[in-house]
């Protein structure tokens, strides 16, 4: 299991890539940064497929910050 800093770094890279912006903070809201639902779905699918991280899709759609996602992954 990756550690919190590793997960945060991984997700920050992924968000930057999807949203095409840097830097991304762990408390930033995905949708406030310009993300939309289609991008969020792309991002989750990348998490599953490329990084092997499984997280409930509702977390990204409803609590859309890296911090929340990491909490969820670590709790799962």
């Amino acid at each position: 299991m990756p550690t919190r800093p590793e997960l945060e770094a991984m997700l920050t890279r992924l968000w930057s890539e999807k949203l095409n912006i840097t830097p991304v903070g762990v408390e930033d809201n995905f949708f406030a940064l310009g993300g939309d639902s289609l991008l969020a779905a792309d991002l989750l699918m990348d998490l599953y497929d490329r990084l092997g991280v499984e997280v409930d899709a509702a977390v990204l759609f409803l609590k859309p910050t890296i911090a929340e996602l990491v909490d969820e992954v670590l709790a799962g």
Partner: protein, 402 residues
């Protein structure tokens, strides 16, 4: 300068066709009638956003819906997208124009033709019988019909019945965000976002589940197309909303009218005319209230000049009551023929699910007529508060079984 057509005066400007309160007591049919007569292509300003052209006559509605070169779907197709960017532009069949539209829709349509959906008839019939089985005496006909979409969403998308209560609420939030039953304290826009995101999260999980366990249904068809994951989910979203938001409102509003005019028994006695009954119920009720397009160039509708970029909203509920096309348009008439209504839209975006909707409605009315000898109203009907979804959300009746 937006000019009215020559020789006509405009109706007073004190109403707003985007105002959900106009629809809270059934369609604004008197207003639509006045507009069709006096101002059939009317500029409707919208506070905070620019506004839209309201098209209320049948021929103009068909022109706009058929001419995708002049009127694009890529800027969103519902009023709640007015002035917002459409993230699913060119990714989702509903928000694409040909030829892109046909690439996504074509493989789905293959499974949605009249011939293809006929194999679901036995499952739909047993679902409907099960729905009606416990119904007797005083009941809420809206509640009774709430699960109708599941009759085909199960076979077509692999959606389990246990998920329906959540899904139905999220669908309502996404199409009727002004209705007090579903609106969040933060207002209609937050409601829309929330419903939409809940559905996206749900559908992403559904897509993943189909990847692990393919069923050969529409979700699998989308999953096998060369689409990014977000686009697969966005198309599932179109299928789900298109399949579930409107259909229960057809039997509700049709039965409410049959009760009101005392024609239920007349209809119920003529099961051989069921296909015409379904078409007339669709025309009369028109639960999908409008579709929006954006003008791609300076053009005209009727004689009215429309500027490139302007939103044009076609009011299907009005076009379907156009007295120039439908004699006695405000009357629900079993024998109406021809009946080329626009309840499913028109042109390339004609409802993908029309064949399965017709099949389901036919089965529903057959079973309803065979099961119930009469209905009496036992309370007030409550309408949905929405400028898109025209329909009934509470309908206390007393049904007497045969």
């Amino acid at each position: 300068m937006r000019t009215p057509p020559c020789g006509h005066t405009r109706p007073p400007n004190r109403f707003d066709l985007a105002d959900p309160d106009l629809y809270g007591a059934g369609g604004p049919h008197e207003l639509w009638r006045t507009l069709r007569r006096r101002d059939p292509v009317r500029w409707q300003p919208v506070e905070g956003r620019s506004g839209f052209w309201a098209v209320t006559r049948y021929p103009d509605a068909r022109t706009v819906l058929n001419d995708h070169a002049r009127f694009t779907s890529t800027g969103g197709v519902m009023l709640n997208m007015l002035g917002r960017p459409e993230p699913a532009q060119n990714q989702q069949f509903a928000a694409s124009d040909p030829p892109r539209h046909s690439l996504i829709r074509g493989p789905l349509h293959h499974q949605m033709t009249t011939r293809a959906v006929a194999r679901h008839a036995p499952a739909i019939r047993s679902f409907v019988r099960e729905m009606l089985r416990p119904a007797d005496g005083v009941l809420d006909f809206a509640e009774l019909t709430a699960t109708l979409p599941l009759a085909f969403l199960g076979p077509l998308m692999g959606i389990p019945a246990t998920d329906w209560p959540d899904l139905a609420r999220w669908v309502s939030m996404s199409v009727a965000e002004h209705d007090p039953d579903v609106m969040l304290a933060d207002g209609p826009s937050a409601t829309l976002d929330r419903g939409h995101r809940q559905l996206f999260a749900y559908l992403l999980n559904l897509v993943l589940d189909h990847r692990r366990r393919p069923r050969g249904d529409l979700v699998d068809v989308l999953g096998s197309m060369p689409l990014r994951p977000g686009a697969v989910v966005a198309n599932c979203y179109s299928l789900l909303l298109g399949g579930s938001a409107a259909i229960p409102h057809v039997p509700r509003a049709a039965l409410a009218e049959l009760i009101r005019v005392g024609r239920y028994e007349h209809w119920a006695r003529q099961p051989e005319r069921i296909d015409r009954a379904v078409e007339e119920a669709l025309r009369f009720t028109s639960p999908a209230g409008h579709f929006m397009r954006l003008a791609t160039r300076d053009t005209t509708v009727g004689d009215v000049p429309i500027a490139a970029g302007d939103a044009v909203v076609v009011w299907l509920g009005s076009a379907n009551r156009d007295e120039a096309v439908f004699a006695d348009a405000d009357t629900l008439t079993l024998g109406r023929h021809p009946n080329r209504h626009l309840a499913f839209g028109d042109g390339r975006h004609y409802c993908l699910g029309a064949a399965v909707a017709r099949l389901t409605l036919r089965i529903f009315f057959e079973e309803l007529f065979a099961t119930f000898v009469s209905f009496e109203p036992v309370g007030d009907v409550e309408h949905v508060r929405s400028n898109w979804l025209g329909g009934i959300k509470r309908m206390p009746v007393e049904g007497r079984r045969r």
